[in-house]
């Protein structure tokens, strides 16, 4: 652990904290400054049946009678101490709402990630080792996966496997089978960029001399793939966690809606329709926290995994791109 690495790690961690704070501010500004007075609209909505006293209490809590900058500082200060406020719709603490929804989304996202990795490896293997014409077809799968909207995949899977083959029922969305199909829906768009990176990596690695030597010594292609080629080809995909985390979080909104699961995505949807500002603010800023944290870990880990990676302080800036 050199002092160079320590300085690099500290700078990156500092940058990450700044980005999270600014993401909170940006979300706050988007939600509260843009036209439409969400909070008071919701509060005055007679459907919620809030008494004038309740309204006064809530207005005082969020500082709604004060300038936006005061509201922002109030809200940011609470966020820093882990206080996320209360839902305007149900009056429950936001932390409780998010906490209740989190396990379901985590299960969905983790299974989707695993399935996406399996898909990507199978596609990359096929692209490398199937005979000519088949390999060309397999190589075009990622761009096909990227062209199909998430909701279409979900509806097709439900139509085929729930309505025709009766593999699962939509009335029990938390059963293992239903979770599996929801995870496949979420996994397909995620697997495409992963497969592309793996294919490019394998193309590069299998041309290297060590691969030729291994082949000439009689190693079968399957063994060469599993023992030598996979690891160096997979390293660049570590840098893609950012993209994947975003895709999993964003995609869960649609997937959960289609499959009728209760999770973070459904919480977002309800918050949007009910103009539930505190819930929306919390979910968006927490997903920024997750995104930045995962990125930070990947950034800090990559020089340790691959010594050839140079320590660059603003790696995040070059990483995501076309």
């Amino acid at each position: 652990m050199t002092s160079d690495y320590k300085r690099f790690a500290l700078t990156r961690a500092g940058q990450a904290i700044v980005v999270v704070l600014l993401a909170y501010v940006l979300t706050f500004l988007v939600i509260s400054v843009l036209p439409g007075d969400a909070i008071t609209n919701t509060l005055r909505d007679p459907q919620h049946g809030l008494s004038e006293e309740d309204i006064q209490r809530i207005v005082a809590f969020y500082g709604l009678d004060q300038p936006v900058i005061v509201q922002l500082l109030l809200s940011l200060g609470r966020f820093l101490t882990g206080e996320l406020g209360f839902s305007l719709q149900s009056n429950l603490p936001v932390s409780q709402i998010v906490g209740d929804a989190l396990p379901s989304t985590l299960t969905l996202a983790t299974s989707a990630l695993l399935i996406a990795i399996v898909f990507a490896v199978v596609i990359a293997y096929g692209a490398q080792y199937l005979p000519g014409r088949w390999a060309a077809i397999v190589r075009s799968i990622p761009s096909f996966f990227l062209s199909v909207p998430n909701f279409v995949i979900g509806l097709v899977l439900i139509e085929l496997f729930a309505f025709r083959l009766h593999s699962f029922t939509t009335t029990d969305p938390n059963s293992a089978a239903a979770t599996l199909f929801a995870a496949i829906t979420l996994a397909i768009p995620v697997s495409a960029p992963l497969a592309e990176v793996l294919i490019a990596g394998l193309d590069h690695e299998s041309r290297q001399e060590y691969a030729l030597v291994a082949r000439s010594r009689g190693l079968t292609e399957a063994k060469l793939f599993a023992k030598h080629l996979v690891k160096p080809s997979a390293l660049p995909s570590v840098a893609m966690v950012a993209l994947i985390v975003g895709e999993l979080l964003g995609g869960s909104v649609i997937t959960e809606t289609i499959f009728g699961r209760d999770g973070i995505g459904t919480v977002v949807q309800k918050a949007v329709t009910g103009e539930d500002q505190p819930v929306l603010q919390a979910v968006v800023s927490l997903s920024a926290v997750v995104f930045v944290a995962v990125n930070l870990v990947a950034d800090l880990a990559s020089p340790l995994l691959d010594p050839r990676v140079k320590l660059r302080e603003s790696k995040l800036r070059e990483k995501v791109g076309p």
Binding site: Q15, A23, P131, P149, G250, V253, A288, F291, R317
Partner: protein, 284 residues
């Protein structure tokens, strides 16, 4: 083994003959251009392609299966689904265009300023782009559209804003790449000023990769806007945006064509756009 060799040889012959006729792009690219052309025509002159109305239907023939008269079948009000798809094209395609334009213009300005000016401006804009990237794109679009109000044009703006970061990053990288090139230095030595370097050297060089990204982003925007419309964040019915058609079709389990027809149109369009983008990237 011999089969593989034979195939490789054949393929080599194929590439050789393709080089001779290098004026024409591959068949899939020509097909893709045809699909995009059809989609553009649908959005400009929908009445040329169908005689049915997208708004009024014949309730006697509701939920009819696809036939010679109704290519994509009819919906629960007996409206021709093909007419609904064709008339919904204008809104779906224009909003994707608006999204790309917002991302392209705002992103390019940020990237140009950042790469060209450098220093503190680069740091400030760089952090801003980091922040835009830190919020998952689709969530950001959902939050923006919920603040602006549920309309297709707002969905387009939201999609555009969430694409700003990608364009900014690419433009900055392009500027950095060209800025230090010898011929740009030479143009400074000959007395050219910064504006000259920008207009004469940096923009023309960056244009190609930005164009490739813009085409790719057009496909992505169609998907994002369709997803927003699917969730009900676009114009309400009787508008017939592609995503909205899928959403309203999914209620009728006995009439799966109501989902499949607009879904196929979305997939076909995005696939074509992506193919063109990949061809442009290779051709450069």
């Amino acid at each position: 083994m011999t089969a593989t060799l034979g195939y490789t040889q054949l393929r080599n012959v194929g590439t050789a003959s393709r080089k001779l006729t290098s004026g024409l792009p591959p068949v899939t690219v020509i097909l893709s251009f045809a699909v995009v052309l059809l989609v553009i025509l649908w959005s400009l002159v929908p009445s040329l392609f169908t005689s049915f109305s997208p708004v009024t239907g014949d309730t006697a023939s509701k939920l009819a299966a696809p036939s010679a008269a109704h290519w994509f079948g009819t919906d629960y009000l007996g409206r021709d689904q093909y007419a609904r798809v064709v008339y919904g094209t204008a809104s779906s395609v224009t909003s994707a265009l608006v999204a790309v334009l917002i991302g392209l213009v705002v992103g390019s300005i940020i990237g140009l300023a950042s790469g060209f000016r450098g220093g503190w401006l680069d740091s400030v804009l760089g952090r801003f782009v980091d922040v835009l990237l830190a919020i998952p794109g689709f969530l950001l679009a959902v939050v923006i559209v919920s603040s602006l109000g549920f309309q297709t044009i707002n969905a387009a703006i939201a999609t555009g804003v969430s694409a700003v970061a990608v364009f900014a990053r690419l433009m900055r990288a392009e500027v950095m790449r060209v800025r230090s090139a010898t011929y740009v230095e030479a143009s400074y030595l000959q007395g050219g000023n910064r504006l000259h370097a920008l207009l004469g050297h940096i923009l023309p060089n960056a244009y190609r990769s930005v164009l490739v990204l813009a085409v790719l982003q057009f496909g992505t925007s169609i998907l994002v806007i369709a997803s927003l419309a699917f969730l009900g964040y676009g114009d309400p019915p009787p508008a017939s945006d592609w995503g909205l058609l899928v959403a309203s079709g999914k209620t009728y389990v006995t009439a799966p064509w109501l989902v499949y027809a607009p879904a196929l149109v979305i997939v076909g369009t995005v696939l074509s756009v992506n193919r063109i983008s990949r061809w442009l990237r290779k051709a450069k």
